[in-house]
Structures are given as C-alpha cells and as structure tokens.
C-alpha cells in the first residue's frame, strides 16, 4: 500500500465522550472479530466470514458522524459497518451461528446483515451491488425533505464495477446526499490492484462526475474522523455527493481467519514496511498523550467491550436454530 496523495488533516478536537465512543466502536469490531477468528475453526459458525481486522478506524470513524436516521449500506465485509452503525452485537454473532435470533434470522449469514433500527440498511455480497441503493435512499431523503444522508461502503474491487460509475453519475446528476466510502485495501481476494487497474488512486474516479473527493490514510483514526466529518457535512448540507478513498491494510486473507498465504501474494517489502499498523493503538496513544482519556477509562472501555463480546457469543450459541419447516417463509413481504 502507499499513502501517496493522502490529504493531510489537522487533528480533530475530540471530547472525552466522543473519544470514548470512537474507541468503543473500534474495539467492539476488533474484539468481536478476534473472537470470531478464534472460534471459527470449531466450524460452528457455518458462514464465510470476511474479517475487517485492521480496517476498524474507517467503519467507526465514518459512523461517528452519522445519526440513526442516516442510512448505511455495506458489502460482504460487513461486520465493521454493522457494529459501527450501532447494530446489535448479539444479533450479529447469532447470525454467524445461523440462529433464528440473528439479525437476518439465519437467512442472510455473515454477508447479509441488517440493523434497520440502527440505520444499517443491509449489505450485498455482489461487489458494488449496494452502491445504487445508497443513491436511491439519498434520492428518497431528498424527495421526503429529510435531513438524512446515505453512506455506501465499498472496496477497491467495487470501483471496477460499472454500476459504481452509474451510481456516481446519478448521485451527481440529482445532487443527492450520499457519501461513497471506498475502503482501498489494494487486494481483491489476493489479486493486487496493479493487476486490475491502471490507476490505483480511486478517489480520482469522482473527478469525471465533478464530485469532490479525497484520499485519506485510513489507518490513522484521526484523519478518518476529520475527513469523514467533512464528507458527511458536505452531503448533509445539500451540496451533493462526496467520495472518500481510505487507504487501508486488510490484516487477514479475503475470507476466513488468518492469512497463511500472505507471503505468497503480498510483496516482501509490503510485509515488512508498515504492514499491520494498528489504528486502535495509534488512537489510544493519541488520546492518552493529548490527555483526552485516562488509562483507567480506556481499561474500563476495554473490559466492557470484552464482557459484551462474551455475552454475545453465549447468546448466539444458546439461541434456537431456524426450523426447516419455515424454509419458505419470507420469500415475499406481506
């Protein structure tokens, strides 16, 4: 990965409450996914898990600026977006265990999570599939004269799909309140962006549609927080769409725990230099140095998150499985 072209941002002013909130969201994703990774080999979570370890700052930093009425759309790597937007951890883990108590009642699995009440409107595992949904929701907000914004998380692979270009065209044309959040981790499964695209600077794609955009260091939670504030505010104030490209590191392989073949598809220099920067560690260092949070407060957040994660797994493991007799339920909405 390269940080070339990343826009600089002054450190945002963070209140203690905001810092605690931001940290909680990042830690929730981190600890939940580490636990998923730990238990996955037991084969009780029978659904493909696309872990977002390493990418927590973007999910959390963007959602910090969203209200409940704002809509988030996501993709196959959905856990982070779902949790950051306030989706129930219990229902997420139950969904991974394919339980009736899961957020999609065991019909969606890891790639199709939803938390309607929290404003996570669903995720599509067709790459870029949800980009027009976000534009459609934003168009509806505009028609309904609501002060809400729609945010679509998409990866670098999604930026190769035609429907993303179409969606940007629509968004710009109708000037709707949508933010496209590109999480560029440079790999589609194990194919590096250089074998897929001539231009890895994905934020430039917005230029064709006169949509403002920037590239941001997605491993730096402060930059993420500051940039997302700007992008979301732009959309919310009626100025139209915004595109943010976050440069990121995916710590694990495309799907499943660990990354046993990292050395086979990642360049040696990449594996050494800056690989596995830790956004949470950077954030903790910052808030301690700046005196925003104290050690003890961080320890409290950490143990509370751990407790919730434990509780969620117990809830999921003890939840009922869907009944085969209900197979045909939900094909249509009544």
């Amino acid at each position: 990965m390269t940080n070339k072209d990343c826009a600089p941002f002054p450190n945002p002013e963070l209140t203690a409450a905001a810092a605690a909130d931001f940290l909680t969201r990042m830690l929730m994703i981190r600890r939940a996914e580490l636990k998923i990774e730990e238990l996955y080999p037991l084969e009780q979570m029978k659904t493909p898990v696309h872990l977002s370890l390493g990418q927590e700052a973007v999910s959390a930093g963007v959602c910090m600026h969203l209200n409940r009425d704002d809509a988030v759309f996501s993709n196959h790597r959905s856990h982070g977006h779902y949790l950051a937007k306030g989706g129930s951890l219990k229902e997420l883990i139950a969904e991974l265990y394919c339980r009736e108590t899961g957020c999609s009642k065991g019909r969606g699995g890891s790639m199709h999570v939803i938390a309607k009440d929290a404003g996570h409107w669903g995720s599509s595992s067709i790459v870029a599939g949800a980009t027009p949904h976000a534009v459609g929701a934003a168009l509806a907000f505009q028609m309904q004269k609501k002060n809400a914004v729609a945010v679509c998380f998409l990866g670098d692979g999604a930026c190769e799909q035609g429907v993303f270009f179409e969606s940007m065209n629509w968004a710009a044309l109708k000037k709707v309140p949508v933010v496209f959040v590109i999480e560029n981790n440079f790999y589609s499964v194990s194919s590096h962006i250089s074998v897929r695209e001539v231009n890895e600077f994905l934020y430039k794609r917005a230029w064709a549609f006169d949509i403002p955009s920037f590239r941001v260091d997605g491993m730096n939670p402060l930059d993420v927080y500051a940039s997302a504030a700007e992008a979301v505010e732009h959309a919310r104030s009626g100025k139209g769409p915004f595109v943010v490209e976050y440069v990121l590191q995916r710590w694990r392989m495309h799907v499943g725990p660990g990354d046993p073949n990292a050395a086979l598809y990642r360049a040696p220099e990449e594996l050494q230099a800056g690989y596995q920067r830790d956004p949470i560690k950077e954030f903790v260092e910052h808030v301690l140095t700046a005196g925003i949070l104290k050690e003890q407060e961080i320890a409290q957040i950490s143990s509370r998150v751990d407790g919730e994660v434990e509780e969620a797994f117990v809830f999921a493991q003890n939840s009922p499985l869907p009944d085969g007799g209900d197979l045909a339920k939900f094909l249509f909405v009544d």
Binding site: S124, M143, W170
Partner: protein, 351 residues
C-alpha cells in the same frame, strides 16, 4: 394506508361492443396512464422514472401527461444507466418510496439483471422479510417493423425462473389498469410486461381505482373441448382462433393467467380436467419457458385427465429476425393455435 382499501375485482365486466357511449372505453395505453395518474394522486410516495418518460411520446403516451401534472420531481427522465436505475428504485423503496420504473423495452432489463435477480428478488428472503420493496418495473415488448433481435424480446421466462419476483402480463385495458394498481400497491418487486400491439386495443375501464388481484386467472371464454392458456397478446390470438374453431364446432376454453408469478394453476388444472386437452400459447421462446412450465405442472398434476399430449405454441428457439417475411414466419398466431387444437381434436385429419 392508501393501498389497503382497494376495490378488488376478480372478473372483468362484460363488455358489449354495441353499448356505444353508455360504457367508458379506454385503450390499453391510456388505461396504464390512468392507473399511474391515480396512484400518483393517491400516494405521495409513488414516483415514475425512466428513459424518456417526459419526452413528447412519453413511454408510448403512458407517462408524458403525468410529468405535466405532477412535475419533474415525481415523473422524471433517467440516464441510460439501466442497472443503477433499478438499484436506485430499490434504495428509494427501502427508504419508503414506491417507485415505478419504465423501460421502453424488456431487452434493456437484461442490463439490470444483477439488481433484479441478485438484489430485488432476494432482499425479502435474505433479510427475513424486514424490508418491503414496493418497486414496479414496467417494460413494453416490441414487435414488427424490423425491431429485430434486441428490440422485441419478451424476457418474462428468464425472470420466471427466479423466486422472489412477481410477474404480470396484462392482455386487456381493463386488466392493464387494475393490475398496474395492484402492482403499485404490492410490497414486493413486480415486473410488468406490456405488449406494444395491445396498446390499440380498447375495453371497458371504470374510472374509479380498482385492483385486479394477482394469481387469479381470467377465463376469457368458456369451452369444453380444449383448454388454451395464453398470455399477453397471445390471448387476442387465442380468442381469434377460438372464434374460428367454434365455426367448426370445436369449443375452446381460453384462460389468461394475467400473472405468471403467482400463477393460478388451479383454474388451469380444473379446466384441463374438464377438457382433457391443453395448448399453451406464449409470447416467448419455446424451450424452458412459461409454456413449458405450464405443460410440466399440468402433466405432473393432471396427467390422468389428459386425453392427448399437451402442446406449446411459442416462438421458435431463434433470435427475432428483422425482415418482414421472416418475421411472419417467426411469430406464431391464431393459425398456429388453431392448428394445434385441430391436431388434438381431430388427429386423423391432416390439417
């Protein structure tokens, strides 16, 4: 809610050609216009979008007047972005709107296959019924004047294979209005296939808002000898064939399912059990299509009621040609239906 109290009409009122001015008649296209007009007036969540909906022709006269009445906020043109346009309709529906998307040709729906098949059809199931998707996708089947292979396909068969979609094929102006109202009132994605040649056909269309329910076939003509199941423009062809066959003493029952998903298979089975003979006339390719499906289900469920093998009258498995002599050879019609019926009823005679 504006759509919970609708007058539901199961049977099309009898229409007497000689009734003159006493009965209000509309053509198929105007009936569609009226359905959308009433939906827009009734429900602020409804909007209409599609390529050229506000151009002077406005989707063959079915939308232009709407834009004049409701403005560009609710009736608007779209970019040539078929895939995202459907996706945008889905997103708007998730946000509580009730979009009607208009495509001039079903051929163009194929560019939106991902949004229709991977998204619209799956959304309710994947998310356990939490997200209503009231989206209507209208498209108008072309035919003739050299429209050729990419402007005259009827692709309902492709979508018919996919669970999670409702598929409507009206054949009369009356049904066009009532079924479009039902489509807009439905909380699920609906594909609404019109046929260009039906636009000039008139029937009695009441002024009030009424719903023709999904999954209820219309028996267009009662008969005892042969059951002809036909959709869309093939209903017209079947009724013509039935008239000619009546002159020869053969009594044909013509059934128009009106919606193929859900399909009123019980009405078809009951008819076949009575007549013992089945012809299915479809507006699409023969192989793997709607006609094949009806034949399969009837064979599975009413095999012992059949006096002879069922027949399909549908398009040859070829792209549509442009040249008019080839078009004539391509499109099946009343004479093919008549031939199929005669071969069943009088197998010894060479037709």
């Amino acid at each position: 809610m504006p759509w919970t109290k609708l007058q539901v009409e199961r049977e099309e009122p009898a229409f007497d050609e000689n009734a003159g001015d006493n009965v209000r008649k509309l053509d198929f296209g105007t009936a569609l216009l009226e359905a959308q007009d009433q939906a827009l007036a009734r429900d602020p969540r409804v909007f209409v979008m599609g390529q050229g909906v506000n151009d002077p022709n406005g989707a063959f006269g079915t939308t232009n007047a709407l834009y004049k009445k409701y403005g560009l906020e609710r009736v608007f043109d779209t970019p040539l972005n078929e895939e995202s346009t459907i996706g945008i309709a889905l997103g708007a529906a998730m946000a509580g709107m009730r979009p009607v998307v208009v495509h001039n040709r079903p051929d163009f729906l194929l560019m939106a296959m991902d949004q229709i098949v991977n998204h619209a059809a799956k959304w309710s199931y994947m998310f356990a019924g939490q997200v209503p998707l009231p989206v209507v996708i209208r498209s108008c089947v072309g035919r003739g004047w050299g429209s050729a292979a990419q402007h005259s396909q009827t692709v309902h068969g492709l979508f018919h294979h996919v669970p999670g979609l409702k598929i409507v094929l009206p054949s009369t102006a009356y049904d066009a209005k009532g079924l479009l109202i039902s489509s807009i009132a439905d909380n699920n994605p609906v594909l609404f296939f019109e046929q260009r040649w039906l636009y000039k056909h008139q029937s009695h269309v009441p002024e009030y808002v009424y719903a023709v329910p999904f999954g209820q076939a219309a028996v267009k003509r009662k008969g005892k000898d042969v059951t002809v199941v036909a959709v869309s423009h093939m209903v017209i062809e079947s009724l013509r064939a039935a008239d000619e066959l009546a002159a020869e003493g053969i009594d044909v029952e013509v059934i128009d399912p009106r919606t193929i998903r859900p399909l009123d298979i019980e009405t078809i089975l009951a008819s076949v059990r009575k007549t013992g003979r089945l012809v299915v006339a479809d507006l699409a390719w023969t192989t793997g299509g709607f006609a094949a499906e009806v034949v399969a289900v009837v064979t599975e469920r009413a095999f012992h009621g059949l006096k002879c093998a069922p027949r399909r009258v549908a398009f040859p498995d070829l792209p549509t040609p442009a040249g008019y002599t080839l078009e004539q050879a391509f499109y099946p019609g009343a004479k093919d239906i008549k031939k199929a019926v005669l071969e069943m009823v009088r197998p010894s005679e060479k037709v």
